[in-house]
């Protein structure tokens, strides 16, 4: 027994002596701070137990479009966890930092969790906001971020547009008219989702915030459900924020294996529970069932169903001269 203990002691010392320290940079979109703070701690513990190595994950957060541009311009991300696939496609196409088929590398088109867009209103819902039609009423002030820079804002715009399409038998002209009226009620555009939450919750501007579902729940948690309440519209969009290893950066840093495992672990039971607790809809059905009380039921339409693809949506709505530029006058 004594000999066995000695052997174990020597082995553990040897393992500790050989333990590596690995650093990863996760470039993410605006509202995922709390999610990844919790996830990174869990992953570090898991990785230490599995390999004996210490992994430290640094985070960068901002509007999804801006973050993608930062990586293209040289920000040395090992992984990106952005709001929409289009932004990661841009990194692949413009900077060639990851392959074009990156989305096929992980399950569910590299989307470990989903979300949607809901309304956050002031307690008591003084303007009686129930659905998208209430947002275009005169005297209703809507807070949302700039879809040119914020991934969440692009999902919000598409959710509104999808509602208008569904309501008007896919009449594009009617949908444009609706979206124009909606953005006429937007007094200020932040660059990212977190900024628009500050505008609504901290600066007291607006009657309703079009928010990521998790951001809305977080606001209730932090500011108190005596100040705000969530209104779930009849229809919204299934937001699918994807994740990817920035292959060239990871290879240069020697972090490919850890980066791959970091993203794979997002699909583990532990990570899916963390996502659910932070009000991201887990893709693991069993865990989604367990946390069903966290999420209101509503009709969710997909981007593919309503807009064919991100490339098409970007080109039609968000590119320079697109629909958003045509309808929005600051």
């Amino acid at each position: 027994m004594t000999n066995l203990l000695k052997i174990l002691l020597v082995a553990s010392v040897a393992i500790s002596a050989g333990a590596k320290e690995v650093k990863l940079l996760n470039v993410s979109y605006d509202p995922t701070r709390e999610l990844y703070t919790e996830y990174n701690a869990a992953f570090a513990k898991y990785w230490k137990a599995k390999t004996g190595d210490d992994v430290t994950v640094s985070q960068s957060h901002g509007g999804s479009g801006k973050q993608a541009q930062a990586v293209i311009n040289g920000l040395e991300a090992d992984v990106v966890t952005l709001a929409l696939a289009y932004d990661i496609d841009a990194i692949s196409q413009q900077a060639h930092l990851l392959p074009a088929d990156w989305q096929a590398k992980l399950p569910n088109a590299s989307t470990p969790y989903t979300s949607t867009i809901v309304f956050l209103v002031r307690k008591g819902n003084p303007k009686g906001i129930k659905d998208w039609d209430d947002l275009v009423k005169k005297g209703t002030s809507v807070v949302v971020a700039n879809p040119k820079t914020s991934g969440g804002a692009r999902w919000a715009y598409l959710a509104a547009y999808a509602y208008a399409l569904e309501k008007n038998n896919h009449d594009d002209a009617a949908a444009r008219a609706y979206i124009k009226k909606l953005y006429k009620n937007v007094p200020v555009l932040d660059s990212g989702a977190r900024g628009s939450t500050v505008t609504f919750a901290q600066r007291g501007i607006g009657d309703v915030l079009l928010a990521w579902e998790n951001e809305a729940h977080l606001a209730l948690k932090e500011f108190g459900d005596d100040k705000y309440e969530i209104v779930t519209p009849s229809l919204s969009i299934l937001a699918e924020p994807p994740v990817a290893v920035v292959a060239k950066n990871a290879k240069r840093h020697g972090t490919t294996d850890v980066a791959n495992e970091y993203l794979k672990y997002l699909y583990s039971d532990e990570a899916q529970e963390i996502a659910a607790k932070n009000f991201y809809r887990p893709t693991n059905e069993a865990i989604a069932q367990k946390y069903t009380a966290n999420f209101n039921q509503l009709k969710l339409v997909t981007l593919k169903d309503e807009f064919k693809s991100w490339a098409n949506a970007q080109q039609t709505h968000f590119a320079d001269g697109g629909v958003f530029d045509q309808i929005y006058q600051p």
């Binding site: 701070r33 007094p187 200020v188 977190r194 901290q202 501007i205």
Partner: protein
């Protein structure tokens, strides 16, 4: 929600000044309510419920507008701050033109040096030493740093009679004490030679400077230890001959020279003011072999007086032949307005004349020394790196710049070995070349401001011959050289 709170604190500041976000809106709201109520009371009328509701709604709408305006200002400030980080900056000042990229990874600086000189020779029977105006140096100087640790310098010179690339090098700074430099730059040997051209005391460097190399092409390791208490440099170079006005661009042989320098400023960090400016050290070079070659003699093209007249040169067909070395103990001292600089140089080179028949190889050991000093009459501190006037020249404002009195003495001694032997074997002609030269100079420098300087100085050089040989008439060395110098200089 720490991050939301942090974002809140950040958003509280616009352009550096804190705006109490709620206070302002609350004050406006209170003011509007007060005005509304006072106004109603002033009319002596009761406010109906409908009017009150309308008034409250109006106030709420105005409150929202103010909040929106404040938030837009915050967002604009954040956007401007973000853009400023990626926006390149251009500054122009007394240190030249600076471009810095937004991410500070690229810094490019443009400097310049222009020296407009005059030389007037006296009592030379108009034989030698043409009185002249000249553009002594005309240099655009491009320097910079990329990715914080890599410095570069590219300096062409358009002054004088030839256009040349003076400096072209890259320096990697791993730490102040560990730097690697490669390219073409000043050899780490001569103390006066290493002084920057715009800040030397006189128009021309001393007679002792003839024995040290000018620029060389190579690579060295160098650095400052303990904040410059000790400095070192050690490198491998092509190997330059004794001072050459037109610097080499290629090597004249296979073998390379090792050059190095060690300088101490032991009292630099002490509280003893009077000793902080004391520095001393030694420099030297050794070239492994120096075979005779047709592409170059491997020897100096000649030694020059202060007036830049050649007072010594080897006979045609004389080449370096064997090892060559230099050693130079050197020192400087600066305290307040007083500055002193001194160096002694030995340049030893085997040489032979490649005439028909066997000729002997001579060990030629030339030596020189100089001491120069200055006193800044207007009280500014003297330094190895120049003088900055406290009160730049300004006729309207009453500033007169800085004034400095300077003096120098130097000697150069040619090895007697070069003059021995028959006419066909000796290395130099004693009737046309000096065996010794002694030069003294005195001058007055006026620093109008950090960028403009004017000099006036007088130099006298006398010559001694080998074994009292009579100098041939009409040679530079046949009479003392007396030169009056002036200079107008722009540097930035």
């Amino acid at each position: 929600m720490e991050s939301l709170l942090n974002k809140n604190k950040k958003a509280d500041r616009i352009n550096g000044s804190k705006i109490p976000k709620m206070k302002l809106t609350n004050k406006i709201t209170l003011a509007l309510i007060s005005v509304g109520l006072v106004s109603s009371a002033a009319h002596g009328a009761e406010i109906s419920d409908a009017d009150l509701t309308a008034l409250k709604q109006q106030i709420a709408d105005l409150d929202q507008k103010v909040r929106v305006l404040e938030r837009e200002r915050e967002i604009d400030g954040e956007t401007a701050a973000t853009q400023a980080q990626s926006t390149a900056k251009l500054t122009v000042g007394q240190n030249g033109v600076n471009f810095i990229s937004g991410d500070t990874n690229f810094v490019i600086q443009l400097h310049g040096l222009a020296q407009f000189d005059s030389r007037s020779f006296f009592n030379d029977a108009h034989i030698n030493g043409n009185d002249a105006f000249l553009l002594r140096r005309l240099r655009p100087i491009l320097t910079g740093t990329v990715f914080h640790d890599f410095d570069f310098n590219f300096t062409p010179d358009f002054g004088g009679s030839t256009v040349q690339v003076l400096d072209a090098y890259i320096n990697y700074r791993y730490e102040p004490w560990f730097q690697i430099q490669g390219g073409k730059y000043k050899s780490p040997i001569g103390l006066e030679q290493l002084q920057s051209d715009p800040v030397t005391s006189f128009n021309e460097r001393s007679i002792a400077n003839n024995l040290v190399p000018n620029r060389d092409i190579g690579i060295d390791l160098h650095g400052d230890i303990y904040d410059g208490v000790a400095s070192y440099a050690l490198g491998i170079f092509d190997g330059s001959t004794d001072y050459n006005g037109t610097t080499a661009t290629t090597s004249f042989q296979d073998d390379k020279a090792v050059e190095g320098r060690l300088i101490f400023q032991p009292f630099k960090e002490t509280k003893i003011d009077a000793l902080r400016g004391l520095g001393f050290g030694v420099a030297g070079s050794y070239i492994f072999s120096n075979p005779a070659t047709n592409t170059s003699t491997g020897l100096t093209p000649g030694y020059l007086t202060d007036g830049q007249q050649k007072f010594f040169s080897y006979n045609t067909g004389v080449n370096a032949s064997g090892a060559g070395w230099r050693i130079s103990p050197q020192a400087y001292y600066y305290y307040g307005p007083f500055g002193l600089l001194a160096e002694y140089v030995i340049s030893d080179q085997n040489a032979k004349r490649t005439a028909a028949g066997a000729t002997p190889t001579y060990d030629v050991q030339n030596s020189a020394w100089e001491i120069s000093g200055g006193w800044v009459l207007t009280g500014e501190d003297a330094s190895y790196n120049g003088i900055t006037p406290r009160h730049p020249f300004n006729l309207h404002g009453g500033g007169w710049g800085a004034w400095q009195l300077v003096a120098r003495y130097g000697e150069l001694d040619i090895d007697d070995n070069v003059f021995v032997g028959a006419t066909n074997v000796r290395l130099a002609d004693p009737t046309k070349n000096a065996d010794e030269a002694q030069a003294w100079s005195i001058g007055l420098n006026w620093y109008l401001n950090k960028n403009i300087r004017a000099n006036l100085s007088y130099s006298r050089t006398t010559f001694s011959s080998y074994a009292n040989t009579k100098f041939a008439a009409g040679n530079v060395v046949s009479q003392p050289e007396n030169v009056l110098f002036s200079r107008l200089q722009l540097s930035f």
